[in-house]
């Protein structure tokens, strides 16, 4: 059946079972493979996306539950051709190593920057995202540096 949801700012109609996992619909018919599957049980956070602004595990949300709602994936973080300060910081300051946790980690860090700063600590904001490479210190540093970065006039290139 047809589902209608807003994906990365644009309304999308997608042919999918409403009881399919959001993750499968993103990675399959929507071809947004940035969200990863590391465990399939809401532990690793590699599939984290924003659902109406809050981070959720796309492996535990059914597509039909997102009908009419807004989903933002890692592919929707960058503004056009520019990396966000967070993305840039992850590439420059060691926040990304193997990169498999990076999409989910960036989505959680984005939610922290945008909405959760007053509610949770930085480390708490990414506690649902398991990283096996970094020991988290470079990720914490990357998020802190992005927070310090000048938010205007950022230029980057995408898809090199």
């Amino acid at each position: 059946m047809k589902l209608t949801l807003t994906i990365n700012g644009a309304p999308r109609e997608v042919e999918a079972s409403p009881t399919a996992r959001l993750l499968d619909v993103l990675r399959g018919p929507l071809a947004l493979t940035g969200s990863k599957e590391g465990c399939g049980e809401g532990e690793c956070g590699a599939c984290t996306v924003l659902l109406d602004g809050d981070p959720v595990n796309a492996c535990l949300v059914l597509a039909g539950q997102c009908e009419g709602r807004e989903v933002i994936t890692v592919e929707g973080l960058a503004d056009g051709q520019s990396l966000t300060p967070l993305q840039r910081a992850f590439a420059e300051h060691g926040g990304a190593q193997c990169g498999i946790c990076t999409p989910g980690m960036l989505v959680s860090a984005t939610a922290y920057e945008k909405t959760h700063k007053s509610l949770v600590t930085l480390r708490e904001s990414i506690a649902g995202n398991i990283c096996r490479c970094t020991g988290y210190q470079r990720i914490v540093d990357s998020i802190e540096r992005a927070g310090d970065a000048d938010r205007t006039g950022t230029f980057g290139s995408v898809g090199a």
């Binding site: 990863k36 049980e41 590439a91 060691g94 190593q97 020991g135 210190q137």
Partner: protein
Amino acid sequence: MSRTARDRETHAVGASVPRADGTPKVIGTARYVDDFPPMPGELFGLTVRSPVPRGLLNAVKFDPTFDWSDITVVRAEDVPVNVVALIAEDQPVLAARHLNHAYEPILLLACADKHKLLRAKQAISLDIEPLPPVLDPEAALQNAATIWGTDNVQKRYLITKGAADTPTPEDSLPAIDAALAACEVRVTGRYSTHHQEQLYIEPQGVIAWWDDKGVHATGSLQCPFYVHKAFLKAFGEDASRIHITQAVTGGGFGGKEEYPSIIALHAALLAKKSGRPVRMVYDRKEDIEATTKRHPTLCEIETGCDKDGTLRVLKMRVLMDGGAYVTLTPVVLSRGVLHAAGAYSWTDAHIEAAAVATNTPPNGAFRGFGAPQTIWAIERHIDKVARTLGMDPLDLKRKNVLTLGASTATGQVLHTSVAGVECLEKARAASEYDHKRALRSPPGSRKARGIGAAVFMHGAGFTGSGERYLKGKAAVDLLPGGKLLIRTASTDIGQGTETVFRQIAADAAGVPLANVDFAVPSTTVVPDSGPTVASRTVMVVGSIVESAARSVGDRVRAEQASSGGTYAEAADRLLAREGTVTSLLQYSPPDYVKWDDQRYKGDAYPCFGWACFIAEVEVDRDTFEVTVTDFWSATDVGKAINPVMCRGQIEGGALQAIGWALWEELVWKDGLIKNPRMTNYIVPTALDAPPFHTLLVEAPFSFGPGGGAKGIGELPMDGGAPAIAAAVEHALGFSLDDLPLTPERLFSKSLTKGASL
């Protein structure tokens, strides 16, 4: 191979340049194996596995009411040569009759419809006659039941030094015992470590297909040429018809060193039989159950020293659990035994080691490769010696740590790049160890604080003659406009190979970093650089890349000098004239490396990385939960090509070691894993990880690239666990010899009378 005086105008080495693969990783376009869109006609594959740790497979029954018409089935008899090529060739690609461990693959299924595939698996029943399994390594060593070879022993080693180095081996043991008896202070101990799962966040996966060029496999893997060799053996195809390509890989840590050969063989077998491309991606449960893990190890140590703390005599016995098949166990045991004496000087040593088979899934490569297990033992033991002597453990380590000119247990005289003392002193000062060690937690407090240290070294590159036999190769091609392309089989699995190699090549050739590219590691395109393992990528392969890039750069400059124009113009002229301009070089280890593989004597490694890790902990006296409040380290990397990436390696490795020490534990019952899930196999989150204070020390290795880089990949895995244990011991006041230090175990230990220090 060190940098010459002809210093180039570019200086990429030493700068924390951004990751070369950073942008695709942060915008989500980096393509991991399961991100490739389905190929036309693609099937999904899965594995039917043994439910028992040991047994005989009598029959496989297919439910006749199920529609098998669109299911591809591969069984042992479908494998041309049913062996996974590695060291011992004892492991079948699919078990035919003898089942030697739980989760051993028996048959393979493929279908276009995933849902039907799962139901097909349900429609198969296995008729198995279970046999009593051998699960305990000590029982395996006793050879109560023979499950491997004639005596269950997969490998043995003996290292002797000083008094123990007797002309006839039988005299060695009495000699070391006599040396021990002559010592002023003798201390004995027994130390054990447990399994550890690599838990890369991207599970194993491969896509395989056949066409007129032969067989192709693209997957999440560390060593494309391992898979190539496995295909060569199992399929008997010509080498030129086997094409193995690394996809972007979501972590490996050794777990994707040898195992990917198996999943790739399985996918290729299904692809061959079905005539369709086949994708196999494990789910987390299957990945934890079926793939390799760190070898559990038991070490027994007896040492002798002077009353002033001068270490004299080491007698050690190492027993590793290899699991059902050999995989890389002889090499893991080798590295374990070569690090067993720790970073200390011993006059006399007798270290005997054995690895035995058990009916458990084969253990294999995992960052550190046996060394974390033996370093756990020796570090714990040295701390025990310090207690016996009434000395501070770090003082005792400072007194005995290997220095320039000292000799290791294999008799290797260290004559370059030795930084144990420097690391120890730097970490000690930065952490305020002495001040904190003297503090005592107030008795009434619910929290007990502690601080503890580990001092260690890790051999960089392959052991002994390994690099000489391996003849690793790498190439640098000149591209139009004076750009360079690095071709190597060394894979980037997150550690930053792509970025660091570009930095090395840019400086060596004297070109800007942006002008250096890195070829996707595919066996059809890149030369065999040897595997991405053993802390050898930067130090060994990086030095080939450096020489090759320098050679290409020199040729362009020579052209420029003779006929003028810009560097790019000279490069284009050269290419127009010669067609291709490539430097393909082979590694030759430093001449001084002399190793006797029979007697296990000599230069085990061309050099070592050194480190001191210091952990501060807070232990809840009620619940025995351990919080690592701060983690200090000083690590000698030779030369930090990219300091941010070096720190990332050190901190990531340290946290894996902390996880191993405090939380990670596979729960076994009758040879089966009871917690094969990320909710129950507990790795640390950002809230569990300490703040890391990471100091880089640079004691250059003159044969390393970029001005002296050494291997850094495994070293940080070695010291985390003993540093944590030393700190917890300091906090709680009772000795800890066995991993893991879960609250349950600390609680049990607290109840044991006489455990107090």
